[in-house]
Symmetry: C2
Subunit: 243 residues, 2 copies
């Protein structure tokens, strides 16, 4: 059998992985991933063979996984958070067309939106959108349309990849777009280093968020019209009527 598990390891270390994810890693001969993620699990699965590729070499990493599986090894391809949310699961299916002998099993994990929400309180209790501000593979016009559409329809919005060296003003641009429909007082929050050392959350208004510098390890949450701050936590009610 040629088998690859595509495993979401959650936001941080071993304790944030599901039992099912840990079992997949245990059952594997080789674990493949981006260097930083491999380092997160290495100590707990030290009897395994580890293969890494740097960031932005995703296609190469997928091909590596299939080539190892074709040798008869059981492979785990690991991703931070969930492999199915801005992760490698899709690319694995696309490249997998060339390797019909290999069976893929996707093992879900806790994505940064969920883990970050737990740090801030309960911002994602009602309908929400995930939007990545990275325009590497998506035209900015598309991102802009999503920010506007989601704001107009009063979704809670969670932003991935809010910033990078080349895109230092993207969060500011996004806040300006959202403020066309969301009030400047809308309750927002940011979480840095989710599930890792230095994890820190902060609740603020949309207006403040606009002028807050964030890095690529930060996840951003923008409330809906009902979201409130309760004792420093960001809380979205279950609906639009009183509980």
């Amino acid at each position: 059998m040629n088998k690859i598990y595509v495993v979401g390891i959650g936001p941080g270390g071993r304790e944030q992985m599901t039992e099912r994810a840990a079992e997949a890693l245990k059952a594997s001969d080789v674990i493949i991933g981006y260097t930083v993620y491999v380092d997160l699990v290495k100590d707990n699965f030290s009897d395994k063979e580890f293969l890494t590729t740097p960031m932005k070499r995703e296609t190469e990493r997928c091909v590596m996984a299939f080539e190892e599986a074709m040798k008869g090894k059981i492979v785990s391809m690991i991703c931070s958070g969930d492999a199915g949310v801005y992760g490698m699961a899709g690319l694995m299916y696309e490249i997998g067309v060339r390797y019909p002998e290999v069976e893929l099993e996707i093992v879900p994990g806790v994505t940064a939106a969920l883990a970050g929400a737990a740090v801030l309180g309960a911002p994602l209790i009602h309908d929400f959108c995930l939007i990545s501000l990275s325009d590497l593979l998506t035209p900015w016009e598309k991102i802009e349309a999503r920010l506007l559409g989601a704001s107009q329809a009063d979704f809670v919005i969670c932003l991935y990849n809010p910033s990078s060296k080349k895109r230092h003003d993207y969060l500011q641009k996004a806040c300006d777009l959202m403020m066309r429909y969301k009030a400047p007082e809308t309750v927002c929050g940011i979480v840095a280093n989710i599930g890792r050392e230095g994890e820190a959350g902060r609740v603020m208004s949309l207006k403040e968020l606009r002028d807050t510098p964030v890095d690529m390890f930060t996840t951003v949450f923008v409330g809906n019209s009902q979201t409130k701050e309760i004792n420093g936590k960001m809380v979205t009610p279950r609906g639009y009527r009183n509980v």
Copy 2:
């Protein structure tokens, strides 16, 4: 110390829980939840005290948790999936205002969107929205505006609570709204009984989805314009350029 863990146990049994969630349950004296969820964990934590309330008695369940914590017990309030996604975390903060002595810790879990996506393949790789079709606490006009806004902006859409006895035609209505902007051929999928006995996924077009009966234990996925079917799996590419 008066402490309550609000714990997302994932979609099914013990193996889909994170280690952190299992540790929270282990550390607790009493585990509180909706009867069905308590039954999912009872066997693995048989030394605990269990308290249950039926569905739709959420406020009562939260008050029960705080009252137990006030007795000095460590309490876990459990939710299926993630406690922060249409779960109890928000209501716990709202009711918690009356119990300032009690510390809340939210422990995230794998919500049905992520677990269902893993069954279907990789539908949520790019920007997506979660929308609940339940109009119990949300006016239908709001749900309608979200379906339209999300479709127009080409989000992948995941629908929770697509149907119930009283709302048997809501998915049909939702599909008609989405088809104002999404092509009838858009790749969609449904997953029943995620993470439980009888788990089953099926990939189909949006046009077919419109006429497919679903029950309240089904989660629905509607692709974006780039989503494709690859060997029976639902796969959304990472962006709008070739990989």
